[in-house]
Symmetry: D2
Subunit: 323 residues, 4 copies
């Protein structure tokens, strides 16, 4: 019997990716896709690449007889939605917004849905706070060190994101004439994902209090995040490589590459790729993901697979765009 899924906020970018994934997922049927602004319209009128693949329409009606609910609404709106719409206890919820990522907001009900960090907790969770895209890329680069208490000094991060990270709203910095062939920095040292990252690090290493210097950049591509991360380490290059390889030995989607990596190796996949290299006293870690997949909807499906006891890669063996 298939898992019945509902999607709330199906007209945005992460909602569209949920649809693209779940329509092809062998163990899921989409029960409804909620979008107040698109009620009654064909899903393929909004996500036009789905034309010919589905006759599904957006719904205006929240239904409770589903197994899992994906919340693909804006930051702040997920909490409001749940406050206004009490959901049956029997329904598992995966929230893609930032509303329940921090412990202060999440309490004990919500589990932070980064499988490389806490896969076992996810398996038994009812409510998942799906991690942010930058936070995912960066944590993949830090977890092996944090798990061994090896994050002692300052951490230096520069990460560049594709335009889809900013969603579909129109703005100066999303205008093609502005963004094409351009590069810029925003929220330097001040990105909100720093808090999620910090909590995970502290959980793994209660003594963690290293300053994290994070410079986010807007790239002139649509999909993907490349994070460059470095810090002092006493590990040799070989030890560091082994540490990372061991940590991710069982990971379903995250792999350590001995060769240098480039962003398009993961675009349109749910993978995370890492490359670690020692330079003098510094350990340099490059981490890449697709911001909409491993950084959002793909990870949500991965979490769903874990929660429902499915094989973790189910529905996520995606053909990379590659070019």
């Amino acid at each position: 019997m298939k898992i019945k899924a509902g999607i709330v906020g199906g007209a945005g970018y992460t909602g569209g990716e949920m649809l693209r994934l779940l329509l092809n997922h062998p163990d899921v049927e989409i029960d409804f896709v909620l979008s107040s602004s698109n009620e009654g319209n064909l899903v393929s009128d909004v996500h036009t690449d789905l034309y010919g693949d589905t006759r599904l329409r957006f719904s205006g009606l929240l239904k409770q007889d589903v197994d899992v609910l994906f919340l693909c609404v804006g930051h702040g709106d997920a909490k409001k939605f749940l406050d206004a719409n009490p959901i049956d206890k029997s329904v598992k919820i995966i929230d893609l917004s930032q509303d329940f990522r921090l412990k202060a907001a999440a309490g004990t009900d919500w589990i932070y849905g980064l499988p490389e960090f806490n896969r076992e907790q996810i398996r038994t969770a009812n409510y998942i706070a799906n991690p942010g895209c930058f936070a995912t890329a960066i944590q993949l680069g830090l977890l092996p060190l944090a798990a061994k208490g090896l994050l002692k000094g300052e951490i230096h991060i520069n990460a560049t994101t594709g335009s889809t990270g900013a969603g579909q709203s129109l703005s100066t910095t999303s205008h093609f004439s502005w963004r094409n062939n351009n590069l810029s920095i925003y929220k330097a040292f001040d990105h909100q994902h720093l808090n999620e990252i910090g909590e995970s690090m502290v959980f793994l290493d209660p003594a963690f209090n290293a300053p994290v210097n994070f410079i986010p950049q807007r790239g002139d591509f649509t999909r993907g995040i490349l994070a460059s991360i470095y810090m002092d380490t006493e590990l040799s290059g070989e030890e560091a490589l082994k540490l990372y390889e061991d940590y991710y030995a069982d990971a379903a989607f995250t792999h350590v590459s001995k060769k240098n990596i480039d962003l398009k190796q993961v675009v349109n996949t749910n993978k995370g790729l890492l490359h670690v290299q020692k330079h003098g006293s510094k350990l340099h870690v490059i981490s890449i993901i697709d911001n909409l997949l491993k950084g959002a909807s793909g990870q949500a499906v991965q979490n769903m697979n874990l929660m429902f006891g499915l094989e973790e890669r189910q529905g996520l063996r995606l053909k990379a765009t590659a070019f």
Copy 2:
């Protein structure tokens, strides 16, 4: 029992796409991937997006105990390969080069592998000449008219291709510094795909002798072909739309959209999308495909599915890149 597949020429773009598709195809196992220049190397060393997905290595040895052989070598090299390496009659062959597309070269052994044109013949074929990418996009736009003998006057075509259409060899026009933000025309009125198109049209309509004016353009994107096609017609807009909808009613991947279309609706999928509109006396047909999938390796898998009695969409329900 799975279909055993061999790939000849696995290091190029179409070879890479064959690998990306067949690794996820539920009914296929890849027996070997031949590449003389890469013998012994990991497939993921060349197609780096496959890192973490497969430990397969390129082979230097052609094996005959496979069910199907995909030839992903350059134009001219497929015929040479088969001349030098007689293949057992029991092995079905799908050639992605242009060597057997034209009847003069193909004789009666090779079937032109465009399912929208001759799906039934493909089902029983042993040898398939897989169509060219431009030829696919353009024929999808012309078939419904040709089938009714309605291609009377001149046909006007402008089609723009992504850079992967030119393969992975390095050249001035594939240099990023040249091609980025650029647009240019090549082989105007003289593209070799005109011959394939002509033969299909004549087959459907022996009286066909309309001049086909074809202007190919090099676009500054990596994947996809958008073809703009028009000709005089006495059909009304409604009649034309119905003609196209009827013709493609049973097509597995080709659909007619009442709304205008844009290239990214099909990128990283095996779909063909068409939009037809009457303007004065002209019927305007827009046809879009992904040149490496519906225009090459995806169509090869579709042909394989038909030849082996599989569901036509098997292994080809691909997540669109969308952005």
Copy 3:
């Protein structure tokens, strides 16, 4: 003594280009730049590439003691502006909108500002209707034939424009996530520039009544138009080449290339480049311009130079971006 120029609508794309050109023009001083929405702000706050080059501020006040006024407002707004703000007879006006391009609207006061078509009339004009960008690219490709009465049969045009052609307003088709790596068609057979083109052709050849089939495309680059144009001709290739070379022998910015051309040859310049080639019975003309320069503000300066008796290239010897 320098020409005193005023710019109306200085915050848009064509206004910005006017500023970039006039700030470096040796014979011009900018007297004021009107922008109601930006009154008092630094010009370099809006056109941020001008930071460090000018301390000019937007003005809210129209002044009449200038020699020339450039209207860089939206279509429809130029006429409204002039209706609401009678301008002294002593002030020459160059309007970049479409409001006065057609004779019905322009009457006898306004001269169509395409120097390759009517340079002598421009020299003595007081009011110039600056041509549209598509109209410029296409007319450059047709003028030599029209001038000899050689446009007899149907004309086939496919032209692709950069995103700046659509201005700075935010829309779905200007969103980076949509437009990057995409291609699409709009207003097929129905673009408003067809009317301007038609009037010029009829002026040169009163018998002109050939159907002009025009397919505009949205390209995934920011600057430039490449137009592909063909029609039947009885001219030989050599005759056609000579016809074009002769017609443009004295042109300041429009040149005929014996070699194939590509868009970036003209980006960020005021040039028009043409390539003409005979294929069977067809003459194929490729025409390229920068839509914001030769297709808008550059041509406006060229017209100003002519109107004020300056050397035609003054202030317009621009460094191509080239890459």
Copy 4:
């Protein structure tokens, strides 16, 4: 009387930019452009954007009766060229390669041509070693601090370059299909420009021995470098801003912006723009240049202007591409 200039290695990217600049420079005439591989060919056959602008041809003959010689050959080849071709003492030389940038190679004859660092020395120099592109962007970001001895602790730099930085040779990482929409890191902690930067810093502050951590990135655009630089500082934000503004108060092309900056503000100009901001204990400096202009040929012309007593901006008031 005009300055007579010769260009050695005129067929490459920096040679092309020299031509684009010098053809429009009011005080220079190009005497010859040497290119052994292109002798006799039109310059516009290689730099096709110059078609219609010049009938100049490449020469195979080095002439000594020029005032200035620009060496636009590859790294290593400049020294070889000068060894094989002794140049008259009367000819000033500006070398764009890295061959004479370091003191060990340069001796006392060659002056490092960064006007913001040593403009007065350049004025009287005979031989100029033109700085590297990354080195220029980064030094502009560090000079004000170094000049005050304020570079005490570690320096953290991430800088992304356009594809033209790698020149016109064909390679995997310059292939459009690979580079488009991609991002990657190379030579992490190990870029050769670190040495130039180090020497300038030590010159300004003999006590300088701070580790410089530099991560270069390959961007998917053609022109420009954006460098993100930070370090600990005891300066307040206001003090830092004032320090930078004061240092660059007289700079011809380098300006400090109080607002955040983005790469396209400087593309196709000779400008350097800086933005400085204090975050906690860190001073964050963003520095942008066009790698082919301020990072190569534009700076070479700026140096020539200084050496010949011309106004520093002569021939370099370039129209930004802006989009």
